[in-house]
């Protein structure tokens, strides 16, 4: 008791007072005092010692026994209080003397320390406390005593076993059952010991040996710290700091590394601890509002469990950063197999939308929190490569972008994070792998991939999509007028004749050495300069980051052919079709990655299901409920598929209801038409229902010489024959490899379009081909329509075409996917992004901000394959490939249509611009805390529900952003590296 109080109070005042007292005292006197005190102590000790003449090793053994039995009084009667306090008094003084003693000459022990070592003072004192009631208070007292002498002694004490060993015994006696105070003190002492270790590695050996003496090949101080890894608060922090010190030790010390990796549960505890902490996180987040899409600092700071998880994750990150590779690899492996796969993967596939959304937000936060490349790689390979119930996590995540609920927004935010990593592997899996084969473009276009846009042609074409209601000439937005006024201040010339010119000095700030002088008209769109500036920054940093990539992705490296081979040789396992549904309404990409389709095409065809699988029935039921407006997400959401399907329904419904009259041929029964993608069974039924589509497309089907008797009235009958016919053609296939067929096909197809497309005289065959061509070029193609195209093409006399399409169709049937490998496809991610973009006018503002943000992020990547696909408006793509430009063009048309039908549209646009402007300045204000020009007062408030108005404003700004990126690419991507 007294010692504790002495330590507590005396640490500062008492000790310093003592030090002052001791200052003038010569060492010999100190030694004498020390010995006298000790003699007094020994008297009392021996009086109560049942075994008078014991050796230290016996005592050690007894001590251990005492520990294991909980350490109550075992010898003799109770020790009188006055004797106990007498001992404490003496010890208190002795310890002061010990701490104040200087080391002897040449690092030898001082005389007091030597005496302590010889007489085994510390161990005997420890046993004395054991003999008394070894309460928490007692432990606390002892721990503080050691903390004090270890921290403040003027000579190294831990080198000496008689000091070290009782310390170890004390430490191990404190593990396990102690109360929080003792734990705190224990961790504090352990932390201190680790600091000593980090400074002086020679002690390390002793720590190991001492452990061995104890009978366990245990690195005790390390093992004692492990239980505190995931502890919250100061204790946990101190423990983790201490462990980190040992981790950096391990990097240099093979023995420590080996011990930790082989003899301790450090890595498993750390990794499974993550799982434990994860399980205590809320499974459903209370989201503040509809626009919420990711966990920010201020969000998670209010969630103690999440803070705790992030602390542990951060600790893992730090360990991986500093630890020996063997520990690092082990930890990474445990995190993968002990947390990501068994915990996070199922969590990402929970049953309700809210839960799944929450998990996605967590995953996004985790990826953002991790900085160490190897840990990041662990997370990324989980996302990119792990399959949960046969479906890649990535595929699932991508498909969720398309959900209309908050899950879609949160998923978008996750992808924004992923794309912002500048990680080659991510970009490869998301997009580049689909672009490498170059079959999304016409063969002749391959050389265009690397071509430079000298004259900003693409930028001009993109900006030409600016809706007339937003054109700077027609209705100058409020601030542009303001700009004009400000701009004309500098000159007294008549604004009509004088041309303004500005020197944008900020363009020089990035040190590129260029000066940019822009001669401009008075209505120069000033904010376009900002877009250019941002584009330059974005592209520059992206380009720099991508220097570590393995290939330039320029259409030559990796070579298109090899890319294809690589795809076919790996990753052969087929994806479960039914789990995945991208938005099939347009791009109708393969539900499986191309390679999977190819691999599967060599398998025997699946027997058609006798009746719809249960979950499809379920899906249909839910879909109907949604359509009727009675969908309740909590209770009915059972499967992602349902959600994706619902979205498709919703989209289709919206389209019919409102604003896409161009899409005349919508499936009558869109429920069924969806299902045909998966099951032959459904395909047939949908064909039956869609018999008038060929007519509405203006196709006239000439009689076919083979068994196909197809006309508008007999499709029902014909559908069976279709299958037979397909089988015929499959057996006639020359090439066994789908890839080769695909290659051929594309070349021939291109050739065909070239030769036949120019032929104006419509003979039966050529006019049909033209129709097919037109059909393919039409960006708005429903899966049904495509099927019809395939279907009707059987009747064409042209042998090549027949063969091609039959092979296409055959692949489809066998793989069960909507499109075979040979059909150009730019990947599900691009497909989904563009689909959502196409719905821009219906999307809420924040969804559009995310979407356009992601697309701009992608556009800033310097890889020619990506650049040419997203930004090169001159590129000729395969007819079935939907490009960003096409989507933008269709959006422009939608907007023009809205503008022409709504009288107050221009007014609303102005209000929305003001609204967004006010928002931006308030953001700026928050960011910089500077008072900048306050925005002009808003003339009118506008409800955010007018999504089409906000989308129009945003669309116009997005065009500028893209154009600016295109322009900067034309410069930056071609500046020689030395520049």
């Amino acid at each position: 008791m007294m010692m504790a109080s002495m330590v507590a109070n005396g640490n500062r005042d008492g000790r310093q007072g003592e030090a002052l007292v001791l200052k003038g005292v010569d060492p010999e006197t100190c030694m004498i005092v020390f010995k006298n005190h000790w003699a007094q102590v020994v008297k009392i000790l021996e009086k109560h010692d049942p075994l008078r003449s014991n050796t230290s090793s016996n005592m050690a053994a007894l001590g251990v026994i005492g520990l294991s039995s909980g350490g109550p009084m075992r010898f003799g009667g109770p020790i009188p209080g006055d004797e106990a306090s007498a001992v404490q008094n003496y010890v208190e003084h002795m310890l002061f003397l010990l701490m104040e003693e200087d080391a002897g000459q040449a690092g030898a022990m001082g005389p007091i320390l030597e005496f302590v070592v010889m007489e085994n003072v510390m161990e005997r004192l420890f046993l004395w406390s054991l003999r008394r009631q070894f309460t928490d208070d007692m432990k606390l007292e002892q721990l503080k005593m050691y903390e004090m002498i270890v921290g403040q002694a003027r000579q190294p004490l831990l080198h000496h076993k008689p000091v070290l060993r009782p310390l170890m015994m004390l430490l191990s006696s404190c593990s396990g059952t102690a109360g929080p105070e003792v734990e705190a003190e224990l961790v504090s002492l352990l932390n201190q010991l680790c600091c000593v270790l980090a400074k002086d590695q020679s002690v390390l050996e002793l720590f190991f040996h001492t452990s061995e003496d104890q009978g366990a090949a245990n690195f005790l101080i390390f093992s004692l710290l492990i239980p505190f890894i995931h502890r919250e608060g100061l204790v946990g922090q101190q423990a983790r700091d201490a462990l980190l010190l040992i981790m950096s030790l391990s990097a240099e010390n093979q023995r420590v590394a080996q011990h930790i990796a082989e003899n301790t549960y450090f890595c498993p505890v750390l990794a499974t601890g993550l799982s434990g902490l994860y399980s205590s996180l809320p499974t459903k987040l209370e989201v503040p509002g509809e626009e919420w899409h990711c966990l920010h600092r201020e969000d998670w700071l209010q969630m103690p469990t999440l803070v705790q998880f992030l602390n542990s994750l951060e600790f893992c990150n730090a360990v991986i950063q500093v630890a020996h590779p063997s520990i690092r690899d082990q930890l990474v492996s445990y995190i993968y197999n002990g947390f990501l796969v068994p915990v996070l993967a199922p969590a990402l596939h929970k049953l309700t939308l809210e839960e799944v959304m929450t998990t996605t937000a967590y995953l996004d936060l985790f990826v953002r929190s991790v900085s160490e490349p190897i840990l990041l790689q662990t997370f990324l390979s989980f996302i990119l490569l792990h399959r949960h119930e046969n479906v890649h996590i990535l595929d699932t995540l991508v498909s969720r972008i398309n959900t209309p609920f908050q899950l879609g927004t949160v998923s978008l935010a996750l992808f924004q994070t992923l794309i912002g990593l500048y990680c080659e592997d991510v970009m490869l899996q998301l997009i580049l792998r689909y672009l490498i084969p170059c079959n999304h473009m016409m063969l002749s276009q391959r050389r265009v991939v690397k071509e430079r846009d000298f004259y900003s042609v693409s930028a001009a074409k993109i900006l030409a999509l600016t809706p007339s209601c937003c054109s700077p000439e027609h209705s100058p937005p409020p601030l542009r007028q303001l700009d004009s006024i400000l701009w004309s201040k500098g000159t007294d010339n008549s604004p009509n004749t004088g041309t303004m010119e500005t020197e944008e000095s900020f363009l020089e700030e990035d040190g590129s050495g260029y000066s940019c002088v822009i001669g401009s008209e008075i209505y120069l769109d000033v904010n376009y300069l900002h877009y250019l500036y941002n584009a330059r920054l974005g592209i520059s940093s992206c380009t720099r980051a991508c220097q570590v990539w393995s290939a330039p992705y320029d259409g030559e490296d990796p070579p298109p052919e090899e890319g294809r081979q690589a795809q076919t040789t790996t990753d052969p396992a087929p994806t479960n079709q039914l789990e995945l549904e991208w938005d099939d309404s347009y791009d109708a990409g393969p539900v499986v990655p191309p390679e999977a389709a190819t691999a599967e095409s060599s398998r025997p065809p699946q027997p058609p299901a006798a009746e719809p699988p249960k979950h499809i029935q379920e899906m249909r039921r839910t879909a109907i409920m949604l359509v009727k407006g009675s969908y309740i997400e909590e209770s009915d959401f059972q499967d992602d598929v349902m959600v994706y399907d619902l979205v498709a329904k919703k989209d289709a419904r919206d389209t019919v209801d409102r604003r896409r009259p161009s899409r005349e041929t919508l499936p009558e029964s869109d429920m069924d038409s969806e299902f045909n993608l998966e099951e032959d069974h459904f395909k047939v039924s949908s064909l039956q229902e869609k018999d008038e589509v060929p007519l509405s497309n203006g196709l006239s089907l000439p009689p076919h010489p083979t068994n196909m008797e197809v006309n508008s009235s007999e499709v029902t009958k014909g559908s069976k024959e279709v299958k037979a016919h397909v089988a015929d053609h499959n057996s006639n296939l020359q090439s066994p490899l789908a890839t080769e067929v695909g290659d051929d096909l594309m070349d021939q197809y291109e050739e065909l379009i070239r030769t036949l497309g120019s032929d104006e005289a419509g003979t039966g065959g050529s006019s049909h081909v033209k129709t097919v061509d037109k059909e393919f070029r039409n960006p708005v193609v429903t899966p049904m329509e495509e099927d019809e195209v395939d279907f009707s093409s059987f009747s064409v006399d042209t042998p090549e075409l027949e063969k091609q399409h039959s092979s296409l169709f055959g692949t489809k049937l066998r793989s069960g996917s909507t499109r075979s490998h040979s059909v150009p496809f730019t990947g599900p991610f691009v497909s989904v992004l563009l689909s959502r973009l196409e719905n821009m006018l219906d999307n809420s503002l924040h969804v559009n901000l995310l979407l356009t943000g992601i697309l701009a992020q992608l556009a800033a990547y310097p890889q020619p394959l990506l650049q040419s696909f997203l930004l090169n408006t001159n590129m000729v793509f395969q007819p079935s490939v939907r490009s960003l430009y096409q989507v933008l063009a269709s959006l422009k048309n939608q907007i023009e249509q809205q503008a022409s039908t709504k009288k107050d549209f221009p007014e609303l646009i102005t209000s929305a611009q003001h609204c967004l402007l006010a928002r931006e300045s308030s953001l700026k204000g928050q960011d910089h805390k500077t008072s900048n020009n306050s925005p002009p007062p808003q003339p009118k408030t506008i409800s955010l529900a007018r999504t089409e108005v906000f989308a129009t404003v945003l669309f116009t700004e997005f065009l500028k952003e893209l154009a600016a990126i295109a322009q900067e690419h034309s410069i930056l991507s071609h500046v020689p590296m030395e520049e």
Partner: protein, 284 residues
Amino acid sequence: MNKQRSDSEEQSGEQQQQRASPARPSFGKKQLPSIPKNAVPITKPASPAATAQLANGTHASYGPFYLEYSLLAEFTLVIKQKLPGIYVQPSYKSALMWFGVIFIRHGLYQDGVFKFTVYIPDNYPDGECPRVVFDIPVFHPLVDPVSGELDVRRAFTKWRRNHNHIWQVLMYARTVFYKINTMEPLNPEAAVLYDKDVQLFKSKVIDSVKLCNSHLFDQPKMDDPYAISFSSWNPAIHDEAKERMFTHKRRPEDHHKGLQVSGLSWVKPGSTQPFSKDDNPPLS
């Protein structure tokens, strides 16, 4: 005031996005019109043709940007070409005017240092070919003895976009001093002399070179901050610049390291599979 605040909170989607994480590039940020702080309006003679020739006449306000970037692209091409002995610099006032100097290292015009100006038509690249005018009319069959203009058009009868580039004009300006052509001269005297009396031609050339070089340190003809001006060697100024020039080459990489923007890749070169590098830690 209150009203505005509540509005801004309502639409805090973007704001959150910005605060999301330092790793997130600010790319998604849309900018609405605002006033750049550094924009300094300067008057300039009107150039009526600047926007007349735009392909997309509807958005003339972007015309200057297209022109500017076309010229920047041309300039980067010039840099890439590393034409021997030729240096150019766009003027401060207009990207359509480039200052240049050409050093002739051998041949009849050896040691000549000729300053010139390139004038690019403002309907570039759809107009005529750029003009090259020497500050001092060099004695040369293809250089107008009064205006100093080089006959460029003979080499670029029709300027074709995507096909013709400004570096070719500069290349041509250099070539004329090494391969003398006397057909249809702008300076008939020089042409005749070259054909009839090479010795006299040579001495006239030497005089011309001397004259040009004697005016080397003159103030630039054009009052422009980026005009090329020569001065005699001044260690106080030039030594440091020289030093920097020679150390410049190693700078870019250091520069990059400092920024700590680094991408990630675990793709083995030659592979198109993610995490194909050999040194990936085993995950299972």
